[in-house]
């Protein structure tokens, strides 16, 4: 059976450096401590439901509680707009990763390059490659993923878990962020 920190895709073994397991408590702390965090929501937000609640709604809660600017990637923008939430940006995953690897980019808000990027809802394999780019070419950036499956290319990643456990992790994260 799959271990908590096995790469979810069996053969996704990048090299000697691999990410560590992230818990909701650590995630909340990292987000709060970051100066310019960024939240990226991938296409699985459109098709994932946890206990009858859309992953898009979880993303909105996390964005609201953390005040992180949110980038809706792929065509997720529409799902946010339909829920009355205005993402800070909509752009392809590849484009935001391309900007995050550029030391001179001014960041989404023009306040400087980001120091933490938080991912959720990415197709596993495209997300893993985006994380690989950032691992190698954006040394100033820490990367964490709130996805259901372990990503060795992130600095820290939620472990492999069941949908139920994942929903609990996300609830706990929202609660921790809310506590301030």
């Amino acid at each position: 059976m799959v271990e908590k920190d096995d790469p979810w895709e069996i053969a996704n073994i990048p090299g000697p450096r691999r990410g560590k397991i992230l818990t909701p408590v650590i995630a909340a702390r990292m987000i709060k401590e970051a100066k310019r965090p960024l939240f990226i929501v991938g296409s699985l937000a459109l098709e994932t439901e946890l206990n009858g609640k859309s992953l898009t709604e979880y993303a909105i809660e996390i964005a609201k509680e953390s005040q992180m600017p949110l980038v809706a990637v792929a065509h997720t923008l529409k799902a946010f707009l339909e829920r009355g939430f205005e993402p800070d940006s909509s752009m392809p995953l590849i484009n935001i990763i391309d900007r995050l690897r550029d030391a001179d980019w001014e960041g989404l808000k023009g306040a400087g390059q980001h120091d933490l990027v938080v991912f959720i809802g990415m197709l596993y394999y495209i997300g893993s490659q985006g994380l690989s780019t950032l691992k190698h070419f954006a040394p100033w950036l820490r990367t964490i993923t709130l996805c259901r499956f372990f990503h060795p290319n992130a600095d820290m990643s939620f472990p492999n878990m069941s949908e139920e456990e994942w929903a609990n992790y996300l609830d706990e994260l929202v609660a921790k962020l809310r506590m301030g």
Binding site: W8, K78, I126, Q129
Partner: protein
């Protein structure tokens, strides 16, 4: 008198000091006859480096390492993570570019090897002087060969000359990947672009050779409709299944059947591009499908004999065929599968051995392959009639009950398919979830390699989807080959000015994220919007696999002529050359640019003026890597599906937010640097979803040369698709508006208000609103 050959130097007696070189005279005559030679005939590995650097400066290489290490030499493994250098001094960016170079060289070698096999065989059969004649509507018979090498091929022997150039360049590029050779990522990329342009050349050589050698359609817009699908094979007859990309053995099967007068008694069918090409030779042949369906077809036991040629054949094909008592004939020395070489054995002996149980044979004599395949199929078919290849539905439930829900299959599955959940349902006799997986399954069998209960989820999916598979009967228009010069005359101007909003080419392999239906859906969307839509290879097949409510495929609904709103099947992988060829012909025919040895000017023309975009939604192979990178050097952008971002490791991305990147020269403006806007925005890009890809396709068809009306049409499509899938205007649409006249008329007021809100200013328009862009310094003051 014997003909005096080109290159001969001789003296005339009594006229001392008079030496005449016939080679020079012939060249002079040729120059007069068609075109003077351009600046870069047969460019070497660094000849076009400046052009590459122009592209790479704007479209910066973006790397996503799949592996952080290198193990290419005995110093390794070297850990290259986060700036560490390998023992040879290489860093991770150069290493990624190097791996891409190796992939592009493999892709090029596959096409070049294929071309070499065809050209040698056909020269052996018909001689070097066999004419290249593509019919009355095609004067520019080989736009890539002309532009890259300066050769105008008029006979098969000329193709050999072009092929010699391909082989030298390929060798040089591959040598650059050796340890301690090239070291800068940017120069690896230049070599990637070079070898991939050479790949375009190899494909054109291969397709022209087979068109003339096998009398394929020569750009026929009404090429016949042929049958395609796992359900089209008539199993009451003996069946020969040809797999791969090289038509030669399949053609010999057809020839032998017709020589024996039993053409209708044996089913000849194919998988992958061999199938497309056999139907270009014999429209009664059938196409079973592409590589993703290979195991489905082989395991179903439909074939009495499998003939393999080259490329994209499963490497375990003999093992798989043995399970269902199908005999395998390997016909190409590139893939021998450990089979005994029976080339020189008596034909009857080989047939008897195969019928009596030998699993396969290597036969490197094409005519013999044809005869053995047919005779073995005729004798094996009655013996195999009762064969039961797969479990039935009753057994399915029992098998599913043994699943231990370990998730290993899902973790091994490239598409993360929910196999464990489907097993739970199947154990309760609900097979629908299993059957549903069929559409997104790429047929790789990784699931069964890892299964702890020794199940084959792949086989179980196949049994569950039995009904759907049987009903797979579709129509595909046979590959028509090149675009006619006459068609280019009609569409050249509307493409360059933008009235036809773009040419979209669906190309490449079937490693789709969510099944192939998405390709057909994307294609139809752009057909309805008046784009020119073409397809090749697996994508052409995949598009045929979906029907509308009236039971028609896109090939039955839309014209096969290269015009607005068409659905054209150009042909197999090697026929991809004609897509680039069409763009080159626009420069040559519509704009009267000289092609001969003139790569840089033609690529500059295409980049700035020809709104073409490739979509390789399921790109998988090394060939697809070189095909896409080759398009890029010509200035044609390509969109990959999400698997492309994983496997290819490298993209070329533009930054629309960096205004300084989007200046070129406006020749009509006196050559001053001119901001043309971010078009096309990227050269090679990976999309996460079909919707994202469609919006990006519309955007990547925008070109600096669009006239105001053309830009308005392109902009309308971009905005409209974005609003449909994203729910509102794109946030960069204003970057493509140069003047308010370019706003879609029905929404002009509303959009003008939006522009006002963001402080948009109209672009300085050139005189007569004619945009005349070039990225080449030497043309800034006028086209010479």
């Amino acid at each position: 008198m014997d003909a005096i050959k080109k290159g001969t130097i001789f003296t005339i007696s009594d006229l001392e000091n008079v030496r005449i070189s016939i080679g020079e005279i012939v060249e002079e005559l040729e120059a007069k006859e068609w075109e003077p030679m351009g600046p870069h005939p047969m460019p070497g590995i660094a000849t076009l480096r400046n052009w590459d650097f122009k592209l790479l400066n704007r479209y910066k290489p973006f790397y996503a390492p799949l592996c952080d290490m290198c193990c290419l030499c005995t110093y390794g493994k070297c850990d290259l993570t986060c700036g560490k250098k390998g023992a040879c001094g290489i860093k991770i960016d150069a290493q990624q570019a190097r791996i891409v170079l190796i992939a592009c060289c493999i892709g090029t070698a596959a096409h070049a090897g294929h071309a070499r096999h065809l050209v040698d065989h056909l020269i052996g059969k018909y001689g070097r002087d066999f004419p290249i004649e593509l019919g009355p509507s095609i004067d520019i018979e080989a736009p890539i060969i002309r532009t890259v090498t300066g050769i105008r091929p008029r006979k098969l022997g000329d193709l050999e000359d072009a092929l010699n150039y391909v082989e030298v360049e390929l060798m040089n590029c591959l040598s650059a990947a050796h340890t301690g050779q090239e070291g800068a990522f940017i120069d690896f990329e230049s070599k990637n672009l070079h070898v991939s342009m050479v790949d375009n050349l190899a494909k054109e050589i291969a397709d022209i050779a087979q068109i003339v050698g096998y009398d394929f359609p020569r750009g026929d817009p009404e090429a016949p409709l042929v049958e395609i699908g796992l359900g089209v094979v008539d199993r009451s007859k003996p069946v020969i299944l040809c797999i791969g990309h090289n038509v030669m053995p399949g053609a010999e099967v057809v020839n032998y059947l017709s020589a024996r007068g039993i053409g209708g008694e044996v089913e000849v069918c194919g998988m992958c591009c061999t199938a497309i090409d056999i139907t270009r030779y014999e429209p009664r042949a059938k196409i079973v499908g592409h590589i993703a369906q290979q195991l489905y077809a082989v395991r179903s036991g439909i074939a009495d004999v499998i003939v393999v040629d080259e490329q994209c054949v499963r490497t375990d094909i003999v093992e798989e065929a043995m399970k269902v008592k199908t005999r395998v004939i390997a016909s190409n020395d590139k893939i021998c599968y450990g089979l005994p070489d029976r080339t020189d054995d008596p034909t009857e002996e080989i047939i008897t051995d195969l019928v009596n149980g030998a699993p396969g044979a290597l036969i490197l004599d094409l005519e013999k392959v044809g005869e053995v395949a047919v005779e073995v199929a005729l004798r094996m078919a009655p013996k195999r009639a009762q064969l039961k290849a797969l479990p039935d539905r009753q057994e399915l439930k029992k098998l599913a009950e043994s699943c231990v829900q370990c998730d290993e299959c899902r973790r091994a599955c490239p598409n993360d398919l929910q196999i464990p959940d489907a097993m739970v349902s199947a154990a309760k006799s609900n097979f629908d979830p299993l059957a549903k997986l069929y559409e997104s399954c790429v047929g790789c069998a990784r699931c069964e390699s890892v299964c702890r209960a020794e199940l084959s989820p792949l086989n179980m999916i196949k049994v569950a989807a039995e009904y759907e598979i049987k009903e797979e009967k579709y129509k595909l228009r046979a590959g028509r080959g090149p675009v006619l010069d006459t068609e280019i005359r009609n569409v050249g101007a509307p493409i360059v000015f933008g009235d036809i909003p773009g040419v979209v080419a669906y190309v490449g392999c079937p490693n789709y994220p969510k099944g192939g239906r998405e390709v057909a859906e994307m294609a139809e969307e752009f057909i309805k919007r008046g784009y020119i839509v073409v397809a090749t290879g697996c994508s052409a097949m995949e598009i045929a696999r979906y029907k509308d409510e009236e039971g028609k495929t896109l090939y039955e609904k839309y014209t096969g002529a290269f015009e607005r709103g068409c659905m054209v099947n150009i042909g197999s992988c090697v026929a991809n050359a004609h897509v680039i060829g069409a763009a080159i012909k626009i420069a040559g025919i519509f704009a009267r640019r000289k092609l001969r040895g003139n790569f840089e000017e033609i690529a500059d023309y295409i980049l700035n003026r020809v709104g073409a975009c490739g979509v390789a939604w399921g790109a998988m192979s090394q060939k697809a890597a070189s095909i896409a990178t080759g398009c890029n050097r010509w200035g044609i952008p390509v969109i990959l599906g999400p698997h492309g971002s994983t496997a290819y490791r490298r993209l070329y991305l533009g930054r629309k937010d960096k205004e300084e990147d989007w200046y070129a020269y406006n020749v009509k403006e006196g050559g001053e640097p001119f901001y043309f806007g971010p078009a096309p925005e990227h050269l090679i890009y990976a999309a996460e979803t079909k919707e994202e890809a469609m919006v990006m396709t519309a955007k990547l068809c925008i070109r600096p040369s669009d006239n105001p009306r053309g830009r308005m049409i392109k902009l309308s499509n971009y905005i409209d698709l974005h609003e449909r899938f994203y729910g509102r205007l794109p946030d960069d649409w204003h970057l493509f508006v140069r003047d308010v006249t370019e706003l879609p008329p029905g929404r002009r007021k509303e959009l003008a208000r939006e522009l006002e809100k963001i402080g948009w200013k109209p672009m300085k328009m050139p005189p007569g609103k004619i945009f005349d862009p070039t990225n080449l310094e030497r043309f800034r003051n006028g086209w010479k």
